[in-house]
């Protein structure tokens, strides 16, 4: 049945011996229901135990196995072999330094994520004892799609502006800030604006839109960023032309 084989060309990089990455080719059996992650696991189990890559859930929930497959950022667990030609090139996510093989250094993203304060910030005068903060279905719907982000960083690999300007806060972090800004229980927008309305925040975005196209969870970071631009522009005019208006 499975005599057909595909050839996986995998980027290898061993920081202890290599001065730069190289590609290594592995023949892998083809199965209709296999994803690229299955092929990598096959290599690890049967052909080459030294291959390093991140993965966990195998069901597009954990966001660990993002990589470039034939030049496109995808989750390896969602990329079916049947959708690719017999030659498949697998590389680590673009725009991130390579730690080893398909493993990238994600410190930059983690730091940026923390900077946008991606958690509920209650109003100062709200007593901590107010345990129940009710929300209508409409209020939930306002931000719900952004909660689906799994921090897989495909959007950073797709965003050319992040590639050109590494200081750019980037799609996922700003979309997540937007998610909390739109939450009826949150009062932290002013704090987040200091970060996301800066030059290296939303203003490094030129609306290429690639982030939304590659998102495996169908979040729309590009939309979030444009909404943040519009809101920040309104803010600016309020602050500079109508300083007497209290925010």
């Amino acid at each position: 049945m499975s005599e057909r084989r595909v050839s996986l060309e995998v980027l290898r990089y061993d920081p202890e011996t290599d001065s730069e990455p190289r590609f290594q080719r592995y023949p892998v059996p083809y199965h209709e229901e296999w994803v690229v992650l299955d092929a990598l696991n096959y290599i690890k189990d049967h052909l080459d135990t030294t291959l390093s890559y991140r993965w966990s859930c195998h069901m597009a929930v954990c966001g660990s196995c993002g990589m470039m497959v034939n030049g496109e950022p995808v989750l390896a667990c969602k990329a079916f072999l049947r959708d690719y030609p017999d030659e498949i090139r697998v590389e680590p996510l673009l725009h991130f330094p390579i730690e080893r093989d398909l493993v990238t250094v994600i410190d930059d993203f983690m730091a940026k994520l923390a900077r946008v304060k991606p958690y509920l910030i209650p109003a100062r005068d709200e007593p901590a004892s107010a345990a129940e903060r009710r929300q209508t279905p409409a209020e939930l719907k306002r931000f719900k799609q952004y909660t689906l982000c799994i921090n897989c960083m495909l959007c950073y690999a797709a965003c050319p502006e992040y590639g050109l300007m590494p200081e750019f806060l980037g799609p996922a972090a700003i979309a997540l800030a937007h998610r909390y800004n739109r939450d009826s229980r949150d009062a932290g927008r002013d704090e987040r604006q200091e970060i996301i309305a800066a030059n290296e925040g939303v203003w490094d975005c030129s609306f290429v839109g690639a982030c939304s196209e590659v998102c495996p969870k169908h979040v729309d970071p590009a939309g979030a960023l444009q909404q943040v631009k519009i809101a920040s522009t309104v803010d600016w005019y309020k602050e500079h032309l109508m300083p007497w208006v209290k925010k």
Binding site: P15, E16, E99, A138, K141, P160, G163, G209, A210, A222
Partner: protein, 130 residues
């Protein structure tokens, strides 16, 4: 175990050749050249208009030359591309939530195209093009 992360260089000048979606983006961005050029031609037209009938009619004649017609055809093509690319992303930038649900993107885009057709017809009509 020593760490020695490898940083891949991304081309700063030719990155957009890598993928069709980046090419589409650049195509959208370069519409600014024809829009800017056309706006400058409008400034020139107003200058000629302020200089009197002879100057203005000379300007119109220059526009009617093959070069002028080609210029306007190119500008028209890019202007239409700009219009389409601008309208098509409006639901992203300005989503509309009514009650619980969001108005479908198609409706928002469609409303823009509808308004555009009405405005264009009005401009052409008021300008006496028909």
């Amino acid at each position: 175990m020593s760490r020695k992360p490898y940083v891949r260089e991304v081309s700063k000048t030719r990155w957009f050749l890598r993928q069709p979606r980046y090419m589409r983006y650049m195509m959208r961005e370069v519409t600014c050249l024809s829009i800017g050029a056309y706006a400058l031609v409008l400034v020139l037209g107003i200058k000629r208009l302020s200089e009197g009938r002879a100057a203005y009619e000379g300007f119109l004649q220059a526009l009617a030359s093959p070069g002028g017609i080609l210029f306007h055809l190119v500008v028209l093509a890019f202007a239409l591309y700009h219009t389409a690319s601008w309208f098509n992303v409006t639901p992203k930038a300005m989503p509309v939530q009514i009650g619980e649900s969001f108005v479908s993107g198609g409706v928002i885009v469609g409303a823009h195209y509808g308004a555009w057709i009405v405005i264009s017809l009005a401009v052409l009509l008021l300008a006496g093009a028909f």
